[in-house]
């Protein structure tokens, strides 16, 4: 399929730069997600977390880069690989971890688990276990923004696999038809469980997904937090100005299995190691920090120490918080 006017590949941006405070913040935010997820993985292995648990390790630059340029009030909604999004939205790591362990102190009082958490305060609209289901909701949030004329933008995240759900196309058409302020952020980590993009997409360039509706799209190096930030800035501005939806295809990679029980036979160890080694979003951010002379290794170690402390507190809380009372199971079903 030829590129048409409404879709373009992101030009290589060579002049990406950020201030010291910005870069260190992104570094810190990404590291928080990584350390949190590593700890969640450990707690899972120790049997403190049960059921489904999808780690975001490797994809940190996507959510951190996008959230860096959102405005107060902009909404975030995503699927089940959602811990990173919640942390990037400023939700409390304690409440997230305690939800994973199914405790009263969790964001859903332990009733939702890893895939189902929300925060009104942080404008986080979930946490959805059904692949693709959040996408029309994201368009609906954008409709409400448009209706209320409050200038907000809906940041609607979904995976490469989710991009094939029929309702995603329905949402895209409606979003463009009604010029809704929504950015569709496709986190293309190249696999949907064990199915690679090329085995499930007739056109593997997902930034062109909205071409039939005339929605502009861009392919982005999702392992570079600044490339993410700059394209997100453009896309969000487009949506906020009333020009309708925008699609960002974030090329990224997940290091861990799909969920905790993934034999990972569909890709090679080398493939994963190669990305970890040469394209890791945190390492790349670190390199930018060193290149700009913003901090030295010792300073970054200090940040890591602080973050480990935050994650430790979250894990302790998640283990100490009691189970919800059984009666709690009956609350919040209906009014």
């Amino acid at each position: 399929m030829p590129d048409d006017a409404s879709s373009k590949k992101a030009a290589q941006k060579s002049n990406l730069s950020a201030t010291k405070d910005e870069l260190l913040k992104y570094y810190r935010d990404m590291l928080l997600i990584r350390r949190f997820e590593e700890r969640a993985g450990q707690l899972y292995g120790m049997g403190h977390i049960g059921g489904f648990c999808h780690l975001y390790i490797g994809q940190e630059a996507v959510v951190v880069g996008v959230e860096a340029v959102k405005q107060p009030g902009d909404q975030t909604i995503t699927g089940y690989r959602d811990h990173g999004h919640m942390l990037a939205c400023g939700m409390d790591p304690k409440g997230v971890m305690a939800e994973l362990t199914g405790r009263e102190g969790g964001y859903s009082k332990g009733k939702g688990g890893s895939m189902h958490m929300f925060s009104k305060e942080k404008e986080f609209y979930g946490g959805h276990g059904i692949v693709g289901a959040q996408v029309p909701l994201g368009a609906g949030l954008a409709f409400a923004n448009h209706y209320r004329e409050d200038g907000r933008v809906s940041l609607t995240y979904f995976g490469d696999g989710a991009a094939n759900q029929g309702q995603v196309f329905e949402a895209m058409n409606m979003a463009q038809l009604w010029k809704l302020p929504v950015v569709f952020i496709i986190e293309n980590n190249q696999y949907a469980m064990g199915t690679s993009v090329k085995r499930s997409h007739s056109d593997t360039h997902l930034y062109r997904r909205g071409a039939a509706f005339g929605i502009p799209g861009m392919e982005v190096d999702g392992m570079d937090v600044l490339a993410v930030r700059e394209t997100a800035r453009e896309a969000i501005a487009h949506a906020r100005e009333g020009k309708g939806p925008y699609i960002l295809e974030m090329k990224t990679y997940r290091y861990r299995g799909h969920s905790m029980s993934d034999p990972a036979k569909y890709r090679t160890r080398e493939e994963v190691d190669n990305v970890r080694e040469h394209n890791d979003p945190i390492k790349r951010c670190e390199q930018r920090i060193f290149d700009a002379g913003y901090a030295d290794e010792a300073a970054l170690k200090d940040i890591d120490r602080e973050i480990r402390e935050i994650v430790k507190e979250a894990a302790d809380f998640a283990l100490e918080s009691p189970e919800p009372a059984p009666e709690e199971l009956y609350t919040d079903v209906l009014t």
Partner: protein, 337 residues
């Protein structure tokens, strides 16, 4: 004869059908290359080729919709919905198309399609990976709904489903894939390989749709169950000492009225067990059937043991799950009545 898990039995059923009948095709999410998330289709792509066993994109309505089209024009698709919880996008196709085409076309066309879906809880799946939606299918006239409780039945019933000329929903209790889980979550499960119903013939055989099986003969009370709850009921009967007759319905549409009525008339008492939520669950239908057919034989009110009327929670899996303690309490209670 071989010893098989339920997974192997299900795979063997598809294998047998693919071998015998070129019209059978198998597809779904992660079904081809990866062999299915529960490994039910492992090896089938290698054996039969990519044109007969393949991956689909993540689009359940597309999977079921295309299967209906194939079936109408003479293929026999056996598709997988990765978890029953994901079937809702396909529900439109199932109810409005698959279930109606025979009726609507004056019998010109039928839909010989099988839709396999893992169902039920007990695996810490929470609200989007533990649902038991069987009543939603049973309520739609024009679909058959099967729920096996062991490897032997799973294979025979799946072959029957694939060979059936009507659309069949084949619900696989995922907690039973590897062994007869009886609700004692704190005890190891005996593997199927050590259970008599793990003895499965290698070749072709059919267990007819619409025939219940008596798992335990008894005199005091009839237990109507299917899937995982059959094993839970067996444990409850053993632990309470109540002489229960446990009927494994195996298919809920068509339903074996005769077996139900014969047993309840004999025992005069009835407990109905399912994992699904209570209100409008299939137990409500069973209760009506028992009331209509056995009212004058009943010595006590019929009791239902079901999931609570809430979404399936992440915390308190075993409070939610109707385990042997709850079923046992119902057995005792119905005996008092």
């Amino acid at each position: 004869m071989a010893r098989m898990t339920m997974i192997e039995a299900i795979r063997s059923a598809m294998d047998v059908c693919m071998e015998r009948d070129e019209r059978v095709v198998v597809y779904g999410e992660d079904v081809g290359y990866f062999g299915g998330v529960f490994r039910c289709t492992q090896g089938l792509q290698k054996k039969y080729g990519k044109h007969r066993c393949f991956d689909s994109p993540i689009n359940e309505s597309g999977i079921v919709g295309t299967a209906i089209g194939m079936a109408v024009y003479g293929l026999r698709p056996c598709v997988e919905i990765q978890f029953a919880d994901y079937m809702y996008p396909a529900y439109d196709q199932l109810t409005q198309e698959a279930a109606r085409i025979r009726y609507r076309s004056n019998n010109d066309f039928t839909v010989p399609m099988t839709v396999r879906m893992p169902t039920g809880g007990g695996i810490f799946g929470g609200q989007t990976h533990s649902q038991s939606p069987e009543a939603l299918f049973a309520h739609v006239c024009g679909l058959k709904t099967v729920i096996p409780s062991n490897p032997y039945d799973a294979k025979g019933l799946l072959i029957a489903a694939i060979e059936d000329d009507d659309p069949v929903i084949f619900l696989e209790p995922k907690r039973l894939y590897n062994g007869p889980f009886d609700g004692h979550y704190d005890q190891p499960v005996t593997p199927w390989k050590k259970h008599p119903l793990g003895e499965v013939p290698d070749g072709h055989y059919v267990e007819p749709l619409g025939k219940a099986a008596i798992r335990r003969e008894g005199e005091d009370v009839t237990v109507l169950a299917y899937g995982t709850m059959v094993h839970v009921a067996e444990a409850a009967a053993k632990e309470t000492g109540v002489d229960a007759e446990i009927i494994d319905l195996r298919t809920i549409v068509p339903l074996d009225f005769e077996a139900i009525e014969a047993s309840v008339r004999k025992t005069g008492r009835c407990v109905i067990v399912h994992e699904a939520t209570r209100t409008c669950g299939f137990g409500a239908e069973l209760m009506a059937v028992v009331q209509e057919g056995c009212f004058y034989h009943l010595e006590a009110p019929v009791i239902r043991v079901t999931g609570w009327d809430t979404p399936y929670p992440h915390a308190h899996e075993w409070t939610y799950f109707p385990g042997p303690a709850r079923v046992g309490a119902a057995l005792k209670k119905v005996m008092e009545g």
